[in-house]
Symmetry: C2
Subunit: 451 residues, 2 copies
């Protein structure tokens, strides 16, 4: 009997796993506004070459540079836990495991890619990184990572979050980053918004535009993104690779793997290495869990769409609710994204992975039960995976089936206590997004010749 | 080269170490208001017998019950870190290690004793625990622990903190505790204060009175304290015991051990097991670090005094600034205590341990350097130990002396970001407590016949 399964530092994976190598069909290319594939060179204005190469790579294994591994060792390998107390509370015969990514200094899985991105940029002679952040998880991760390699970090933080979540801002500043409430008057994009709406609360779309504009206009500055892109998911696969080694240590293996899915890096990080086994015939079910209020995979269309609301990014073939879809103000900020990783989308399209949507109240109920049994207060995003696991564990109890379930505890909820507060006070509600509204925003998908 | 030194769960200590067994002189007894030693039976009104026995014990080793160990395994053994990046930033030849107690679900070392106290109370048939909390670290720890053993927890939280730190309150409630802003109108002590000061912001002294009153007046309810008492320090010795095993694994041993010191459980927890080695001739220096604004050991008197401001507790022989000493509103709430553990005090009196006081700004400077090099944002209390370690590491650099330094990273600062915010904005200041003010409050020490 054990609670934690620990890997020694010497067992930390040396390579990332690139799921593209095992996909039956090559990923659809990114397209420009003219409908033609975007050439890699076009991305060099804001990304270092090494990351552009990773974005396009079909190699199965890509080496993790030693300086990146050296920083990751501050918290990795992360522990795999057996959730004995949660199992007992559910009276389930299922064995429930979770990979605890909340142990990173920034409190989530995000630094796994932030550290890699900061390092590749530092090697390319880049002195500054610009990025956007909503609630602040990604901004914190990049601030921390920039500090490790002497890179200045500028974060455009959605103004309403900047004002409502001052502690995430303080954390970024403690790690030396500059944080601005977006829209700012420092960029053309920001000034254009402020001219019309001086009191604009900001949006992720505007903040992305500001960060991209700054990166594109300065030679010493690049842009960094916290999810969606192939290289970001690649850097997260260290999670699933470690989990596989940890299961080997105890002679178990998951029947099902669950992770929250917003942009896809959380899910891809833990699930893709198991997909490698599935590709060679092993039975394992991979389940992306999303909110019913932002049901990209379960109710969206599979189509070419922009990654941002303003249409500045290349077109990506993905499940989307439409780039001007406005998800309700649920508390899992990391899952409020209209689209999804192209890789996750294509695997779902090909029925190689599964998806389920859960309503907000069920996720907080699950999170509170988890906190009261396993001790850790989970991030609202992670609560989605917990809710789906609890559903399955209850099914196992009814069927008397002792399945092995694994989920990614992607982060802690220390900066989300006001959400738990509102849940406990009965002030939260469910938002099921009406099908007609989705159909309406899907009518605005870009019209590209030949698609 | 390694970053973390991990112990497997099977190596978690099975016994707590009782420093009393190795003290050259037996500890001075607790006294009642009449100046006579307090009999153990007097403590049974609010503590279970097992804890009263531990409070009085002279046994060197006391077994940790298996159900307590089972909960501690959720985060223990905690990792020992080598702070390579901090060493590099300081260009010091010193080897700096820290024991990372921030990994507990409550974010500090406090659950080590909370779990033990909750279990012993549950074994004694107690259904509820009452306690007080200032900033909320201890209240969180007891809420978590109570949940693990089916014990209801009521927390009297100092009203000003209740209003200013809503997230610590939310966390306690997420773990199922009831939290009240003290003074309340639920106790005689609270009503008496409110009758005179309806708008009282509360104080730790008032909150203690309310919790003790509730515990003393209800047969199903006991009281729990988060520091100061012998049994609390005993439960924390698992920290130092683990650290010793971890140093054995790598063939190193500290020349100096540092910990923040408020009530003493943080310091006693990591230092006492090393005192056992010192008692048999090993060279190791144990350094308690306190704020210059609340310099109990370095500027207080060694005298009998009350543990609370209202004079409801037994008299303890300790270093004290006087029970009506009002420390300035520094941000390390856990170190704002007028007295100190009787055991720590006596060891200091006998010159078997050392103490140093550091000013507030130096502690935050140290904390920010630590965050930017090692990644983890430390609690303001922990910043005190870091500041003292940095002083010593700089001394090592000047002298070219490669000392091995260990400190207790007692907690993370996730709920203290507003303090870092104010520090970064240049809004914090140092408070050196003037000697005359200390002498004034020392004039109010209790007059006991025969002392």
């Amino acid at each position: 009997m054990y609670t934690k399964i620990l890997l020694p530092e010497s067992e930390m994976p040396t390579h990332w796993y690139n799921v593209v190598a095992d996909m039956p069909i090559a990923p659809a290319p990114y397209l420009g506004p003219d409908g033609n594939p975007v050439p890699p060179e076009a991305m060099l204005a804001i990304f270092p070459e090494a990351l552009v190469m990773q974005e396009m790579s079909r190699e199965r294994w890509i080496e993790i540079p030693e300086p990146v591994r050296d920083v990751l060792r501050l918290w990795r390998p992360s522990p795999l836990y057996r959730a004995h107390r949660l199992e007992q509370a559910l009276k389930t015969p299922a064995r429930i495991y979770y990979k605890n990514e909340s142990v990173s200094p920034a409190g989530s899985h995000k630094p796994n890619t932030a550290v890699a991105q900061a390092w590749y940029n530092s090697q390319a002679g880049i002195k500054r990184l610009a990025t956007e952040t909503g609630a602040g998880q990604w901004g914190c991760a990049l601030a921390l990572a920039g500090q490790m390699f002497g890179i200045e970090v500028r974060v455009y933080m959605v103004k309403v979050s900047y004002e409502q979540k001052p502690y995430r801002r303080s954390m970024m500043e403690t790690w030396g980053a500059e944080v601005f409430a977006s829209p700012t008057n420092m960029t053309e994009s920001g000034r254009r918004v402020l001219a019309v709406h001086p009191d604009s609360p900001g949006s992720l779309g505007i903040a992305i535009s500001e960060a991209v504009e700054e990166a594109a206009s300065r030679a010493d500055t690049n842009y960094a993104l916290g999810s969606v892109l192939n290289h970001v998911l690649l850097h997260q696969t260290i999670i699933g690779e470690e989990a596989k080694k940890q299961f080997e240590l105890i002679g178990d293996y998951p029947d099902m793997v669950f992770a929250p899915c917003g942009g896809g890096s959380n899910f891809g990080g833990i699930a893709f290495p198991f997909f490698a086994d599935k590709a060679v015939g092993k039975e394992v079910q991979l389940v992306a869990v999303e909110p019913t209020s932002c049901p990209t995979l379960t109710k969206g269309a599979y189509a070419y769409d922009w990654g941002d609301s303003a249409g500045l990014t290349p077109l990506m073939k993905m499940y989307t609710l439409g780039h001007d879809f406005m998800p309700p103000g649920i508390h899992a900020g990391g899952l409020r994204y209209h689209g999804d990783s192209a890789l996750v989308s294509q695997l779902y399209r090909e029925r190689l992975i599964d998806a389920v949507a859960v309503p907000q109240l069920e996720t907080f109920e699950a999170g509170v039960l988890f906190a009261r049994t396993e001790g850790i207060v989970p991030a609202p995003e992670s609560c989605h995976a917990i809710a789906a696991v609890i559903r399955e564990a209850r099914r196992c109890q009814v069927d008397g089936e002792p399945k092995t379930l694994l989920f990614n505890l992607s982060g802690h909820g220390h900066f989300d206590m006001s959400s738990f507060d509102r849940f406990l006070a009965g002030e939260l509600e469910d938002y099921d997004y009406p099908q007609e509204a989705i159909e309406e925003s899907l009518r605005h998908l870009p019209k590209i010749a030949g698609l």
